[in-house]
Amino acid sequence: MSLLRAEGLAVARGGVPVLEGLTFELAPGEVLVLRGPNGVGKTSLLRVLAGLAEPLEGAVESEGAGYAAHADGLKATLTVRENLGFWAELHGAQVGDALERMNLAALAERQAGSLSAGQKRRLGLARLLVTGRALWLLDEPTVSLDADSVALFAGVVRAHVAAGGAAVIATHISLGLEEARVLELGGYKAVERAAPGGFDEAFL
């Protein structure tokens, strides 16, 4: 049983292949950390895994994922509770203790626009809890979090994974998740192939 399976994946950004030959599997209880220099295609890969973009080659198998990227999808004029309630209802779930777990209970009735950057980020991660999805795809989740919040976040991920979840995390910094597997993307960089006759279907 696996939550995510990628098979011979090739990923493009803006029509140009950036990664190819990626094959991996993620079972419940596993964390996969994506590493690599800027522009290597971490975000493009996560968007393919989330089903937002089509892979150039290969296939992705998963039963839906909770996706979180740089933009949190928060509405400044809605309260914290309203923001979270919306996503919970959309996923057919309850808000439950998500606010408490992300240390946001005291801010529940505040408008999301009045939160600090770190608080917004925590709210964005609380949204993941209410999706009820076992697989999390996280794009730089710790940007603008202080050390305490990073620890809080790592705790949430650990709890999620311990409860049978899994996560793919693209990040620059160490999250203190010793159990995580690391995938260095530099080794999967797509190389330019010889173009027979000058052109092919992809013009390269």
Binding site: R47, A50, L52, E54, G66, H70, L78, W87
Partner: protein, 218 residues
């Protein structure tokens, strides 16, 4: 789906949501018309139905770029696309929310503004009916234009250029119903055509809009 509708309406009516802007624009257009063509009641009465339809159409156009652009900027659109709801449904609900916050107020305001333009007595009912049937089509067609241009930096003007030609049939049939109503002719044929057009647009265009959104999110 209900959650999305409630959220969109809530966002529209809260401060900065733009609710009322379209209505105010509609009012201003109607107020400016007599300055341009003169205050004679018979002249105004003759053009009133057409002016009110055109004003409603432009007011509707004004708020189109908000439908998806804000959700695209803050990442909500990505998250909606990964949520367990079909994109076609998301698009349809957003168009419905747009109609409820823009089209419906315009329909309700049109008879009042008709008084300002000396709209002849028999025209009121059919003006309101034609707008009530036609504005949902304006919302879904506009939604399609907004979906096409969602990823663009300066999409506003392009959106108008794309959407306005698509509005032609709706405007023709809608204004025809109102005009025939004013003159006391039978409105059955244009009203049926307008209704058919609106029903077709509401039923089919969300699929095209959803396809455009998916392409833009890639």
């Amino acid at each position: 789906m209900r959650a999305l509708l409630i959220r969109d309406i809530r966002l529209a009516v809260r401060a900065g949501g733009g609710f009322g802007l379209a209505l105010a624009f509609f009012l201003i257009v109607v107020v400016l018309v007599p300055f341009a063509v003169g205050p004679q009641p018979d002249v105004l009465g003759e053009i009133a139905a057409g002016v009110l339809w055109l004003g409603a159409l432009l007011a509707c156009l004004l708020s189109l770029d908000r439908i998806f652009a804000l959700d695209h900027e803050d990442g909500s659109l990505d998250l909606l696309a990964t949520a367990p709801v079909p994109m076609e449904g998301v698009v349809a609900v957003k168009a419905l929310a747009h109609w409820l916050t823009t089209g419906l107020p315009l329909v309700l305001a049109a008879p009042v503004l008709g008084v300002l333009l000396h709209l002849p007595e028999p025209g009121f009912v059919w003006l309101t009916v034609s707008l009530a049937v036609g504005t949902p089509a304006l919302s879904v067609i506009g939604c399609f234009g907004a979906a096409l241009t969602v990823g663009l930096k300066r999409g506003g003007l392009l959106l108008s250029l794309i959407v306005l030609p698509l509005y032609v049939p709706v405007l023709i049939f809608g204004a025809e119903v109102a005009r025939r109503g004013v003159e006391g002719f039978a409105v059955g044929t244009p009203l049926a055509l307008l209704g058919g057009l609106a029903a077709g647009a509401v039923a089919l265009l969300p699929f095209a809009s959803a396809a455009a959104i998916r392409i833009n999110l890639r």
